[in-house]
Symmetry: C2
Subunit: 465 residues, 2 copies
């Protein structure tokens, strides 16, 4: 070894005192810019810049040499300044608006502890905690036993359910691939999330084998049509294996009639999956849980507490009724460098082989800490209030002259609100309906005046159109 | 609407002042327990508890009602106390040890800003930043153009490459599934990461269609055997489509001979993927980048800056040479509620349809801020130092009497170190070799005395065995 190298060995490359000072200063900026100004209704939701201008302002390029502390802190401030304030009460744009400070504390702690959920040895607290949180969520579904896992988002949870359903019917798929199987078919509503299609393509099943069932005029899957489509698919030589129901569609918030669908699944012996990524949180509410009546008859449920419960991105649970260790059988690869069988503790606590990921982030702590902080009662209150806000908004809209639920001018209004930075709300067409605004109003930071602001602002922005 | 409900509308459910106070107190605990005590060599790496005892100590159960602030802060402290200190200099257990404070500041900011990477409208800063970071990583690979995406871990990056390779050969797989394709085959080394197997199973290709190529006595894939295995597979009626090479195996850190493998891929017109999740960071080092000579000839590279560069979990980039928008064509579902084509800005900035995820976390900011802070030169220094540490360790082991690279008693030594909490290092068997310790020594917090401690401690823990 060269002498020069030996010298390098004596000191670490990172100075803790300097690093911790930087982190503390960055924390102050986060508190000020993101959490104080960013949630203040007198401040903007977004500071719109055209892409070319923003790239220049941020000076994004990385270089050979590093930068001094003050410059880096200015960068932290700039990133905060030009980013969307998703916790702002006037961010009605997506299903992850709002902030919960207990959850956020859990997220900071998760980041600082920086570990993976594959073995008890590297994540003793989180292996046990995830287990407990999954148990509590399953209990709300109505199951006293079962399995589950946190996934990086609802699309992945839905895809896992699809793979598990396929494996349960045809375990040989794991070794031999889809070639060894008859042609499979999946049934879902056209209002369901696009992840059903993405999952079918990714898993080698194919988009053509996703069969769309008719919906009624409220957008709910029609069980009779499901039954017919299953029979038709069978008669065409395919093997139906999965019905992917939805509790809370992305655009309209519709809940499929789970109980009736469960009857059809029973009849044809199909895996019943419920994509409750958006709607699952109604299970906390005595008033609204009837929307998911029959969910306990499902085989699997995907539920994202990062949406209506404001647990923070990402927090997506896949819950399973299964008690046969299907998750591990389906996904395991038995890597000897992680899952040694001669360990000094119960190796069933090494849950990493339940996942197709190797590194899997800890997503349970933020939900657990928030749940401990406000209790099931506090989470119920959030759900109930989201419904009250939605209802209030609809009633007020009906009262306002010239205010229509559907709008031909949505793109123009959207451009104006973004450039003025006063508010953010998404729009889209649906079926043969023209563009309309979809306001998500579940954030625990909201109150009635924000609902009124929403209506006034749409009127103001569109008054000359 | 009931009168009772109307009252509830007037106030938000969250008190910002109280929430921000809690977050500040939690931050202090994180600084003290995780970042100060947790990196202090005089403190333990882990506070071992049996699972039953730990569950009791943590009081994991969630309840109907919430808890007061002090109790919640104690919970933050407890979670920190009983979690593994992965930033501790004596955590040699996994490829994500250590901490970088600039990265950590970026992670806190990411969590606070809480957004998704699907559209420019909700993530203007991060859409541009991810693009720039991917460009800079591709430049290190040797590509002046191309594409890429950050994935939730290296397994997902590897799986994406597999799906893209399949789609490029047989685009009909997306609509018709694997049934429309001939039987496919994949080639890799038996030393490659288990995600190649997991990916093949998940994508419906099947474990039996992953063909293992012979390695030489250092563990490097033998190109001549690859050529033969490809010919054999063809003669058996399969269609080879992908070679998954590895740069830095998980257990031994071996680099496959990419340049020679590229010749074979050229000859047979196969997609060449390089799993450089662990080893990719050598591309920063003028001294060590020769280990990946030929990487620029690959079609795709998976690279996890959360490993050797200490960017924090997760940070995994999939880099593509492709310039035909293959990623989007392969994964898109064109959801109208997100990817409206009548937006007021360039919709090519809406990158969400490149992913099979819908919600996708921001993983670029932590790497970008760290890169800005220390420059490419600083990252090069980390890589070079990791090699120096590894070499020092091997040389010292050779010098010590009775110290063997292989150990029959690894499980016992491991149990002792965990229960005493002095150190963590992983062990495993390999091929027909018995258990041995695999020390990861890349953390920028390490210095020579930590290497010496490692050796002394193994001797101390095993002296009576």
């Amino acid at each position: 070894m060269e002498q020069a190298s030996l010298c390098d060995l004596n000191e670490p490359l990172i100075d803790h005192a300097e690093g911790q000072f930087f982190l503390s200063e960055a924390f102050k900026i986060i508190m000020e810019e993101v959490l104080s100004n960013g949630t203040d209704v007198k401040q903007k939701v977004c500071e719109w810049k055209e892409p070319e201008e923003l790239a220049l302002l941020l000076d994004l390029g990385v270089r050979e040499t590093g930068e001094p502390r003050d410059k880096l802190l200015q960068r932290v401030r700039d990133v905060a300044k030009y980013s969307i304030k998703t916790s702002h009460p006037h961010f009605f744009n997506q299903q992850y608006g709002g902030v919960d400070y207990h959850s956020l504390a859990g997220r900071f702690l998760t980041e600082a502890l920086n570990t993976n959920l594959f073995t008890y040895e590297v994540a003793p607290v989180f292996v046990l905690m995830e287990n407990e949180v999954l148990r509590a969520l399953r209990q709300l579904v109505g199951w006293t036993e079962g399995d589950g896992i946190f996934c990086p988002g609802g699309s992945t949870s839905n895809m896992y359910a699809m793979n598990l359903a396929r494996y349960q019917c045809f375990p040989e798929v794991k070794s031999k691939g889809v070639w060894a199987l008859p042609r499979l078919s999946i049934f879902t509503s056209p209002e369901s999330h696009y992840s059903v299609k993405k999952g079918a393509a990714f898993l080698g099943i194919g988009l053509d084998n996703v069969i769309f069932v008719k919906v009624d005029d409220r957008g709910r899957l029609i069980p009779e049509d499901l039954d017919e489509k299953i029979e038709l698919s069978k008669s065409q030589g395919a093997v139906p294996f999965l019905v992917s129901c939805i509790s809370g569609t992305t655009v309209q918030g519709v809940f499929d009639p789970l109980d009736h669908i469960a009857d059809i699944c029973d009849k044809h012996k199909l895996w019943m999956h419920v994509d409750a990524c958006w709607g699952g949180s109604v299970l906390f509410s005595k008033k609204h849980r009837h929307l998911m009546k029959g969910v306990d008859r499902a085989n699997s449920v995907a539920w994202n507490p990062h949406k209506m419960l404001v647990a923070g991105l990402q927090c997506s649970a896949l819950l399973l009724k299964d008690t046969t260790n299907l998750l591990k059988q389906c996904h395991s690869a038995n890597a000897t460098y992680l899952f040694q069988q001669d360990k000094f503790y119960d190796v069933n606590l090494d849950i990493g082989d339940k996942s197709v990921q190797c590194s899997r982030k800890v997503d349970c702590l933020k939900l657990w800490l928030m749940w401990k902080a406000v209790g099931s009662v506090g989470l119920e209150e959030r759900v109930d209030k989201a419904f009250i806000h939605a209802r209030y908004l609809v009633e007020q809209m009906k009262k306002r002259e010239g205010f229509q639920l559907l709008s031909m001018v949505a793109p123009v209004i959207k451009e104006r609100m973004m450039k003025q930075g006063t508010m953010m709300v998404g729009y889209q067409p649906l079926g043969n309906k023209v563009n309309f605004f979809r306001a998500t109003v579940f954030s625990p930071l909201l109150s009635q005046k924000d609902m009124d602001f929403f209506l006034d602002e749409i009127e103001r922005l569109g008054k000359d159109l």
